[in-house]
């Protein structure tokens, strides 16, 4: 069995910055976050819009995420 461990470069400060960024972002939007999650690289109404802006910016290793209509605890779809 091969085993490898990936330690994500997350510190408390970075996580708090992530929270700040998410709270500051418009709802129902797509965001491209920098790899260290300390900056919003792009915002778009759609995935492709945010992705295109992020690519154009030259940012490397960004990750996209989506803000909901409201930040809340959710019981997510346990039945089908």
């Amino acid at each position: 069995m091969a085993s490898r461990l990936i330690e994500m470069p997350i510190r408390i400060e970075t996580e708090d910055r992530r929270l700040e960024l998410l709270r500051s972002a418009p709802m129902n939007s797509w965001l491209a976050l920098s790899a260290d999650e300390t900056r919003i690289v792009a915002i778009g109404k759609t995935f492709m819009e945010a992705d295109a802006v992020a690519k154009k910016s030259g940012e490397k290793n960004y990750v996209l995420t989506r803000t909901p209509d409201v930040w809340m605890s959710r019981a997510l779809l346990p039945i089908s």
């Binding site: 997350i10 995935f47 959710r74």
Partner: protein
């Protein structure tokens, strides 16, 4: 069905903070993934690892990003939440799910009104990985252990 399982490799990820009302927050098991179809491949995006979800669910924008212009051409499935009456129309399409250097075909379900980017559920994700959640301690996180299954 006889199944032979082979544990291939293990990955560890830390939980990420997600806002809640009144300045509070929650730690969630969030995994960066990509979706591919034919020659199209999305940029990495965040998906919540959710054992409560039967299927892997994605916002319809992800479908469009891999060339599925009309999600309603897929297999219709109505999903519901724990709140009575809350239902969501989802449409299934075969795509490739990319997790790090690993990738495999799944039947992904897409919805226009999914409030988040994606959920990784039992059918398509938890049948590929043993997932161990560890929300305790200073660095809450989760482990993924890839299991390759061979049907006999």
């Amino acid at each position: 069905m006889d199944v032979t399982s082979l544990v291939a490799h293990q990955l560890k990820y830390l939980y990420k903070k997600t806002p809640l009302p009144d300045g509070k927050f929650d730690w969630l098991p969030i995994l960066p993934v990509q979706v591919g179809r034919s020659t199209n491949l999305t940029s990495p995006f965040e998906a919540i690892v959710d054992s409560g979800s039967f299927d892997c669910l994605f916002h319809a924008d992800i479908a469009r990003a891999v060339g599925i212009k009309d999600i309603t051409t897929g297999v219709l499935k109505t999903s519901g939440g724990v709140v009575g009456g809350a239902q969501m129309q989802t449409y299934g399409h075969e795509v490739r799910l990319i997790v790090g250097s690993d990738n495999f075909k799944i039947e992904a379900y897409f919805a226009e009104n999914l409030p988040i980017a994606a959920l990784l559920g039992r059918n398509g994700f938890f049948d590929k990985y043993i997932v161990t959640f560890d929300p305790q301690g200073a660095t809450p996180g989760f482990d993924l252990t890839r299991v390759h299954q061979t049907k006999k």
